[in-house]
């Protein structure tokens, strides 16, 4: 059974600071997803990582994947208030659906 663990589950940080969210998964998987969820909203796809060493960047967010360590990271650079949201990582494919982590609730304060 695939398990996905994120940490931290809650993060309060100041604007302008850098931080990293970690995502560990329990079994071999070649796909790792990051989603963003704003309060009362649905899930917005941020990144899909498909291979070992994959790195993707969008604005102040950068995601990477290490399949050997079964670890993905989401790095936030020079955080701004608009990035406040809950971030989920997920793994899996096809008929098994996605297995999600519990989410990281991120608050960025001015």
């Amino acid at each position: 059974e695939l398990k996905v663990e994120q940490n931290p589950l809650f993060l309060s940080m100041q604007e302008g600071k850098n931080y990293t969210i970690y995502c560990n998964y329990s079994t071999t998987s070649d796909r790792l997803y990051w989603y963003r969820q704003d309060p009362g909203k649905s899930l917005e796809s941020l990144f899909v990582l498909l291979s070992n060493g994959a790195v993707k960047q969008e604005g102040r967010l950068m995601a990477s994947l290490d399949t050997k360590a079964r670890l993905s990271t989401l790095h936030i650079t020079a955080a701004v208030h608009d990035l406040s949201a809950t971030y989920f990582c997920a793994s899996g494919r096809g008929a098994d659906g996605l297995t999600f982590g519990k989410g990281t609730h991120l608050i960025i304060q001015p």
């Binding site: 917005e44 989920f88 096809g94 996605l98 989410g103």
Partner: protein, 112 residues
């Protein structure tokens, strides 16, 4: 283009009643997924449809839950004899190639 749509957006029902939740996937997407999001359980995968193929129902939480997909497009998730623990947000997602899933806005179900 149009994204995944779900209806109703909110549903309040009395315990014991049946409810139907609808999902319209993105046109051309052959894969369709149902998930449930609740405070206690987080995001849980429920069921997957690929085209017109029969789904694997093993992820459904109980036999009160059923789902169907007509014509390889619209899907309905039915919950019979609702219980309070069924209260959650039910999310539908669709995918063209099981690669990236696009989520709908969800149906918030409240069982009183």
């Amino acid at each position: 283009g149009a994204g995944v749509s779900q209806s109703p957006s909110n549903k309040v029902t009395e315990k014991g009643k049946d409810v139907e939740l609808r999902c319209d996937p993105i046109s051309g997407h052959t894969a369709l997924y149902w998930y449930r999001q609740s405070l206690g359980q987080g995001l849980e995968f429920l069921i997957y449809f690929q085209g017109n193929s029969a789904p694997d129902k093993s992820g459904l939480p109980s036999d009160r839950f059923s789902a169907e997909r007509t014509g390889g497009s619209v899907s309905t998730l039915t919950i019979q004899r609702t219980q309070q623990e069924d209260s959650a947000v039910y999310l539908c997602a669709s995918s063209y190639d099981s690669y990236e899933q696009y989520f709908g806005p969800g149906t918030r179900l409240t069982v009183t």
